[in-house]
Symmetry: C3
Subunit: 143 residues, 3 copies
């Protein structure tokens, strides 16, 4: 069959700094597209939130990851960052986004995201306060 | 319309360590391809330069990011790195490239890169001296 | 010619923590697909192994990279990580995977991976013990 493409978007409400599992909304969007084999690209349109893939089993993994990043990229004001006017968590959020990623491209097999057994896709909110984050979706595949 | 692909390259002259905004040359190349909806992949063919997405508003964000990386991955010679013959900035440049990324795939909507309001695409030169860096472009989309 | 897609997988045996050069098996798989121009996406189905692009010339680069990551993300038990039941190297492996990447999309030109002169693609095993790691491959291109 001929290759086709679809585009869409997900708007995700975050509750402040931390991980939001977006695997299910991604799977739901994908299920509506009628694509069996293909490639799904997710693009996070922000510079203080990002995308990661991590274990979906133990919540402690997410806690430890957050603890690690909070130590590696400490929040701080003028004494630490030139760019501090938007809050002590703003510049660290930009750095965290650079150290992770704003894009993922995931193969689609048998109409489903080809994640490993323990993999989940997370939106990582790096700001302390809740935000609405927009993710663009691009799907290529057989129609 | 049938899907098509285009390939191209950008050669970017850097001025030594720091960020070069490549959003405009990417947009210009894209505008010549006649693709309305699709996916643009950028591949940096180097191991001491990389690609990031970051805020395009405040130059201080770029300064703080560079300060962070310079502390996280210090330049150094034999006392710090086994691989030191190519300069005290060479091994750190390799590590910085690993911590960021050499590839980005950005959705194209309405003939334009679907970046967020504050997003810009940067080539990050990690070596101290100026270099010419080659970026390969792959575009998939409707023609 | 019309665009086509192919999918496949590579199963890579690792010898414990460190880098496995997968450039050659990728090239061999690609050579069997009959695609001249396109885009190859590699997806690592794990949360404690990842993909990087790095210099293929000096083994010391890989040693220095490993030394850097081992210091940045120290192994440790209960005193350091809440998630420690699966071994002192498990949580660090998750963090290392987040700081690198589980996905790469590489342009294909003239039937070959369009890597730079010094670039090689590596699977990074972050656990101390040997594992079998599964990589999914998605290839788009002209047939």
């Amino acid at each position: 069959m001929a290759l086709q493409q679809r585009t869409g978007e997900l708007v995700i409400g975050t509750r402040g700094r931390g991980l939001v599992d977006i695997t299910r909304p991604l799977r739901e969007w994908l299920a509506e597209q009628g694509i069996s084999t293909g490639l799904l690209t997710i693009w996070c349109q922000h510079t203080s939130a990002s995308l990661i893939v991590q274990e979906n089993a133990s919540p402690e993994v997410r806690t430890d990851l957050e603890t690690f990043l909070a130590r590696l990229v400490p929040d701080g004001g003028r004494e630490r960052y030139r760019h501090h006017e938007e809050g002590e968590d703003d510049m660290p959020a930009h750095i965290r986004a650079v150290l992770t990623s704003v894009q993922l491209s995931i193969p689609v097999l048998d109409g489903s995201l080809a994640l490993g057994t323990w993999q989940a896709v997370y939106l990582y909110e790096h700001r302390l306060r809740a935000h609405r984050r927009r993710l663009l979706l691009h799907l290529l595949g057989d129609g």
